[in-house]
């Protein structure tokens, strides 16, 4: 595929949670919870309000088609601000500092007076019905030559637990939104830029890590197509695939439009109530439905069922549109007979609404006439777009698991922005900007580590990108040997993870305690995998050490060492005092690290001296 030829233009928006102490507009901890821990719940309706210009946003308008009653879970770590029962606190200054630092790293122009806005979002993910957001900096550059248009500081939305139930723990966690210009022209380039920006963000050491803490939205268009925003790409590796599939989808929609034009297709019919035709049907969906409506799409046969992306057809797009009215989806004759609908029923349907073999018939099943009419109307709107000269609608879409996407809502316009009158603007002056220091990029840090600690660059790179980087830095500062720490973090833990050991349960404190135990000789280096197995199962370090090797008394130790020395007297005589080091390892593995290295070394020295003295002429 020649993406240049296709006229691919893409940009990305990266949303990264910041690791601040408190949330963006209240003093709750920025802490994610398990929804089973919720301490209360409440429900609300959201309404559409007009913008300051007296307009209603088109994305919000789309949400109006459904009931907007939403339930919310509260926690002992959420407050009245998340409940939309209290005005917001001032903009979190720590979060603003992180944004200004990142802005400086991209050479951006900071906004001198930051104004918080309300971005209308009435899908229930914000109790207020809007997401607070502030533009912090403009005009940055990427090393690839692309531009970063803006950095915004936003509040994270509530997480959907199920259907219309949301969890308030995530609501209000600070989020940085980095938007590039549409400056990329190949799927791989988009992925590389996303990776680079991600690396810069992590270089600050002030961002959250783990699944769901970073999300990419990709904006894609091709020549003849339209700008489409695909939301919620969580895995970096999928970005290029998402772009490839969207190009494919837009190209197929263009091709379908050409064919429809050639066939002189049209959407002129009005919908018909065909409930009676399916009275005796074996299709459970149609049988259950109070109303079944059908619409003839003239000259659409074969095209509604054509695949435009893996597992996605033009019919899927129509179905997404219809779902906005609350129906479960649609049926179309390109895929029938199936789902309990017989060939006979299809023939009867075709005859009833005068459809010939060139036509496709779409059926919707609904609870009443209003819903049926709404759903059919949505199908008609989508069909009309498909045969127009602009067959790719401007849309916000959500990514599906494999990298394909489904329709969410129209692209929002500027009408969704409204000033947040409850938050005072924040002045960003020269003094503040001058005190910002730029952190070392992780790529630079990796090179430095490779050199300073004499470790392989690949290894160092993996280390700096690891979530355990802060732990490593702490360990080194506490005097742990860097190689020991790196080896444990990258190799030991990876092997244990493959074995099924829940390494994630081991706290940073336990890592450090283990390393210190090795360092002081309380445990052998070789015992780390065993120690971690024990720690992961919930034991304390002392318990694990105890279990691995019961404490050895001084007397026992002396006798063990005596035996070892006696067995190896030739070696001792040959090496003299230099035998201490190698013999230390032998003793430690014998007692499995359950004694103090200092004591071992003391007794060893005594025994070695004794052997040497005895042999002296």
């Amino acid at each position: 595929m020649d993406y240049k030829e296709a006229g691919l233009t893409a940009g990305i928006e990266i949303h990264q949670q910041l690791n601040t102490k408190e949330k963006l507009f209240c003093h709750c901890p920025a802490l994610l919870r398990n929804s089973s821990e919720h301490s209360g719940e409440f429900f609300r309706y959201l309404r559409v309000t007009e913008s300051e210009m007296g307009e209603i946003d088109r994305a919000a308008q789309e949400e109006l088609k459904r009931d907007r009653k939403f339930h919310y879970f509260t926690y002992d770590t959420t407050c009245l601000v998340e409940n939309d029962e209290e005005p917001p606190a001032p903009l979190n200054d720590e979060a603003l500092s992180v944004c200004l630092t990142i802005a400086k790293m991209f050479g951006m122009t900071p906004v001198r007076q930051v104004h918080t806005m309300r971005k209308l979002v009435i899908d229930g993910s914000n109790t207020s019905g809007f997401q607070r957001t502030a533009l912090v900096a403009l005009n940055g550059v990427l090393p690839t030559g692309g531009e970063i248009e803006t950095i915004c500081l936003e509040e994270e939305a509530a997480q959907r637990v199920k259907d219309d139930i949301f969890s308030l723990d995530r609501l209000g966690i600070p989020l940085i939104e980095i938007t590039t210009s549409p400056c990329m022209h190949s799927p791989e380039e988009v992925q590389e830029v996303a990776e680079y920006i991600g690396m810069v963000l992590r270089s600050t050491g002030r961002v959250k890590r783990g699944i769901g803490t970073i999300r990419q939205d990709v904006n894609i268009s091709i020549r003849g197509g339209a700008r489409v925003e695909i939301k919620g790409v969580q895995e970096l590796d999928l970005i290029a695939e998402v772009v490839r599939r969207e190009v494919q989808r837009q190209q197929n929609l263009l091709a379908i439009s050409n064919e429809l034009t050639k066939k002189k297709s049209s959407v002129n019919d009005t919908a018909k109530n065909v409930t009676e035709l399916f009275k005796e049907t074996k299709s459970t969906v149609l049988k259950k439905a109070k109303r079944v409506y059908a619409i003839r799409l003239e000259g659409f046969a074969g095209l509604v069922g054509r695949e435009i992306q893996p597992d996605r057809r033009l019919g899927s797009e129509m179905s997404d549109y219809a779902k906005k009215c609350g129906v479960g989806g649609i049926f179309h004759t390109d895929e029938l007979p199936a789902y309990g609908i017989t060939a006979e029923e299809v023939a009867r349907l075709r005859a009833y609404i005068n459809a010939d073999s060139r036509d496709c018939v779409v059926i919707v099943a609904a609870v009443n006439d209003t819903q049926a009419a709404c759903a059919v109307n949505q199908v008609i709107i989508r069909a009309q777009v498909a045969l127009s000269d602009k067959p790719v609608p401007e849309e916000t879409r959500k990514m599906l698991e494999t990298g394909s996407s489904a329709y969410m809502r129209p692209l929002p316009g500027a009408a969704r922005m409204y000033p947040e009158t409850d938050v005072l603007p924040v002045i960003v002056d020269d003094d503040r900007l001058n005190t910002i220091t730029i952190p070392e990029l992780l790529t630079v840090k990796a090179e430095r580590y490779a050199q300073e600690y004499a470790i392989d660059l690949n290894y160092a790179t993996r280390l700096v990108l690891s979530e355990k980087l802060p732990l490593f830095e702490r360990a080194v500062a506490e005097g742990i040997k860097p190689k020991l720490a790196v080896f444990t973090i990258l190799s030991t833990c990876t092997e244990l993870r493959r074995e099924g050991v829940e390494v994630g349960k081991i706290s940073d404190e336990d890592y450090l305690a283990t390393w210190h135990a090795v360092d002081t000789g309380r445990a052998a280096k070789e015992a780390i995998p065993d120690l971690f197995r024990g720690l992961a199962s919930g034991d304390t370090l002392d318990e694990v050490l105890q279990k691995l090797a019961p404490a050895v008394s001084r007397q026992d130790l002396e006798s063990i060492i005596h035996t070892i020395i006696t067995d190896r007297s030739d070696f001792v005589l040959q090496k003299g005092q230099a035998a201490l080091g190698p013999l230390m390892g032998v003793v430690m593995s014998e007692v499995r690290g359950s004694v103090d290295g200092k004591v071992v070394s003391e007794i060893l020295k005594k025994e070695i001296s004794a052997v040497l003295a005895a042999k002296k002429p």
Partner: protein, 382 residues
């Protein structure tokens, strides 16, 4: 700083020196939509004192506009059209902390005129801060045969989650119901499921920001409005439609004060009330102030000031016969205010002193129940 609105909708503040003047934009007009009203529905009058029901920011003035006619309201809250037809009377556009007894009087006269014209009920939109004072004031100033319902919103009307719409719909439902007194209708819980109907003389804003801030004090609410069904249920102690004959008593004595006592309070502060016709004290517990204040209070009373004791506990009744200080207060001439809320007692005092010249009779009236503000029995706990 100059505020610039970008094409993306974001506002940013920039140094004015970095701006160049190009010219003024074309005047943009806000679209006006006509909303047809159903002629077979009862008529309600909406009297507005501040633009809380339908409002949005206005860049020309920089403040919240109070566009206010029936069309504006019905565009903002289409559900209202199912309940009634509306006439609108814009009385004032003030923040409720700027409310004055003079505006209460204007409000009472406007409401009286509307009831006289035969409407089914009255809705008064009001900022929530002093809504309870205004509701008490109207309770005393108007004998009403129809519902007079105060309503507002705790969360601004320009947000999709605002409580304005549900409160307004519930208020309209209450205003078309069998209710026959002055009431406040606001959210009963944090959920969008029920509004409570509170008696105007027994309601208090008990939280600075929550939707369900308004509570009936010392009595049960008069009733509830379920949402979205709009079903109104009234309790047995609620005054029913048509029980009272329409009358207006709009005189108020404005030289009245309300003082909250605190430990160590200086008598000097009370001296500021010399020459006032009345003073309500919000005392501690059963109705006490420190012994040090009693001589000053005695002087005030001798000088012709009516002094009534209430409790800052908000719940419960004053009794100045239990402790020595209380007995001293009584012998100084202080009147016990029963279980009246301090604010309701103040408003009542203004009304009583405005209508009753004889000090003894005025004192007696303060201890009578006029509009449900003074319970003879304490039936309700905390």
């Amino acid at each position: 700083m100059a505020v610039v609105k970008l094409d993306s909708g974001y506002n940013i503040g920039v140094n004015p020196d970095s701006c160049t003047f190009f010219g003024y934009p074309a005047e943009s007009t806000v679209k006006k939509t006509r909303v047809p009203q159903k002629k077979d529905l009862p008529v309600l009058s909406i009297v507005s004192t501040g633009g809380t029901i339908a409002s949005r920011i206005d860049y020309r003035t920089g403040s919240v506009t109070s566009q206010f006619d029936a069309d504006d309201i019905l565009v903002a809250i289409p559900e209202l059209a199912k309940v009634a037809q509306y006439r609108t009377i814009p009385l004032a556009t003030i923040l409720s902390e700027n409310m004055t007894p003079s505006i209460w009087q204007e409000l009472a006269r406007a409401v009286y005129k509307e009831i006289q014209s035969g409407v089914t009920g009255i809705i008064i939109t009001h900022g929530t801060d002093t809504m309870a004072y205004s509701a008490a004031a109207l309770s005393f100033m108007i004998d009403t045969p129809v519902p007079v319902v105060f309503v507002g919103s705790q969360r601004s009307a320009d947000r999709p989650s605002s409580d304005n719409a549900m409160n307004a719909v519930c208020a309209a439902s209450a205003a078309t119901s069998d209710l026959g007194e002055v009431a406040v209708v606001m959210h009963a819980t944090t959920n969008d499921d029920t509004c409570a109907i509170h008696r105007g003389t027994r309601v208090r804003k008990m939280h600075s920001s929550r939707r369900d801030a308004f509570r009936s004090m010392g009595i049960d609410p008069l009733g509830f409005v379920a949402y979205p069904s709009r079903e109104v249920t009234l309790k047995s102690h609620t005054v029913r439609r048509g029980s009272r004959k329409l009358a207006l008593h709009d005189k108020l004595e404005k030289h009245c004060g309300l003082v909250q006592f605190y430990p160590g309070m200086s008598p000097e502060l009370l001296k500021a009330y010399e020459g006032y016709k009345g003073l309500v004290l919000a005392g501690t517990g059963l109705g006490h102030v420190s012994t040090a204040l009693i001589p000053t209070l005695k002087k005030l009373i001798q000088g012709g000031t009516l002094v009534v004791m209430t409790t800052q506990c908000m719940q419960g009744r004053v009794c100045d016969r239990v402790y020595d200080t209380g007995r001293d207060l009584l012998s100084a001439g202080v009147i016990e205010g029963g279980d009246m809320l301090p604010e309701a007692a103040l408003v009542k005092m203004m009304w009583v002193l405005g209508n009753e010249r004889d000090p003894e009779k005025a004192a007696e009236r303060m201890q009578e129940d006029l509009k449900g503000e003074y319970n003879r029995r304490s039936t309700h706990g905390l």
